[in-house]
Amino acid sequence: MVAKYVMLADTTRCINCKACEVACRAEWDTPLGYSRDWVKEVEYVNAKGLPEVQLFPGRCQHCDDPPCVEVCPSGASWKREDGIVLVDHAICSGCELCVPACPYEARWLNPVTNTISKCTFCQPRIDKGLQPACVDTCVGRALIFGDANDPNSEVSQLLKAKEWQKLVTDEVNIGPNHYYYTAGKAIPDTVMPKLNERHLSGKLMENIVNPLGTLGIGGMMAVFLGAGIKKLIDRRQDVSNKEGSHEQH
């Protein structure tokens, strides 16, 4: 069976040391100010009136139905069979149509390469049988990565053993493959995915240019197919009329 890679984040074990972010930046040599992963801190006052902090390590969620792949005009954004969403830098134009399409804000234009960067679950490391850099470096074992289709994998065992949640809402539910354990606490809204305003040019292409063009070309073909059929019928009629008049003579 093909692997289905997932990432688990046990928020109760995260200590916000940022080792994952540092490891990721070192692994991918991301420019200063940019990172493929992050840890969101959410502060709130709990039921006892005490201040509390929840920590949410995040990155590309490698969704089952990734909108970033759907909107990419060049096919540079694509999804491997094992569920990893990748960017083919040789053909990525850097047009950024995919950036607002991602409700997890996991994509950004790399100022050095001029192409889109994002978490790849460290795909080259995985292909060599290693763990992603962030998982390898996580000092609290808050991040666990593996194949959910392998019943013997650690992620499969943990998925069965604990109550995991995904970052999904009624509005955004695109099958993320990143799970969170919060020990029963609700996930705050600030961490949840949000639909971003898409680029006007992208919306125009998606909702007007392409449907109108396709309908128009289909319509024209139908019209001229009709005209051709009518011409054929008229010709047959003419021939039979002529044959009829010959027989009368």
Partner: protein, 242 residues
């Protein structure tokens, strides 16, 4: 007894060659272009087509390269041909085909509507106004194709070359924004031309195969011109060519 219909040379070999060159490159560029766009939201062809073409060519990068180089060869050859033959071919063609005034556009649209209605046995009482070398529909199509081809060539070059040559990230989103709008214009122009080409191919193949023959041999039947393009026939008569 063989009956040879009198003909007249109306197209030179180079014009015929550039027409078929254009047709061949259009077909190739449309097929490869539709293969590049893979995402469901923006895809124009059925899903199997990009997958098939990308597999055949060993990946989308090769397909993009083929489309980009093909586009530049198409634009380059036609551009050079137009420059070298501006006076002899291009300017007379533009004079005949460009619809630039609202009055001319209304007249051509009206002529086109009557022609199309006649295909379905409608508006029989209205006759198509006498036509010159190109009829109303051909002039409208010609104007649209010229405008769209220029837009396709310019936007296509930007789409292909700008990611390699320009620094999108340093432009604060401006160059990327231009790229996205270029993509919209490129697609819209291609779809507009395809709309027109459906009619163009139908008339050439089904309704007036004589014009297709002319685009192969360069010769047109005098009787056909007299019947279909009386104003042009009168012009040829004045010039002593028929």
């Amino acid at each position: 007894m063989s009956s040879i219909k009198p003909t007249i040379k109306v197209r030179t070999k180079d014009v015929i060659a550039i027409h078929w060159f254009n047709a061949f490159f259009w077909l190739t560029l449309v097929l490869t272009g539709f293969g590049i766009i893979s995402g469901d939201f923006v895809r124009l062809a059925p899903a199997f087509w990009p997958t098939f073409l990308q597999n055949v060519l060993g990946g989308n990068a090769n397909l993009v390269l083929l489309h980009g180089i093909g586009g530049m060869v198409w634009a380059g050859v036609i551009g050079v041909y137009a420059l070298l033959n501006a006076k002899r071919v291009v300017l007379p063609f533009l004079k005949n085909v460009l619809v630039l005034t609202p009055k001319a556009a209304i007249a051509d649209v009206s002529s086109m509507v009557i022609t199309l209605a006649h295909l379905f046995g409608l508006l029989k009482h209205k006759s198509v106004p006498p036509q010159g070398r190109y009829n109303g529909a051909q002039r409208l199509l010609g104007t649209m194709i010229i405008a769209c081809s220029l837009a396709i060539a310019v936007t296509g070059m930007y789409l292909f070359l700008s990611p390699m040559l320009l620094d999108f990230a340093a432009s604060a989103g401006v160059l990327g924004g231009v790229f996205r709008w270029a993509l919209v214009i490129h697609l819209a122009a291609v779809l507009l031309v395809l709309l027109g080409l459906v009619a163009h191919i139908y008339f050439a193949v089904v309704e007036e195969p004589e014009s297709l023959e002319t685009m192969k041999s360069g010769e047109a039947e005098v009787a056909f011109i007299k019947h279909h393009n009386p104003l042009w026939y009168a012009e040829l008569e004045r010039e002593g060519k028929v």
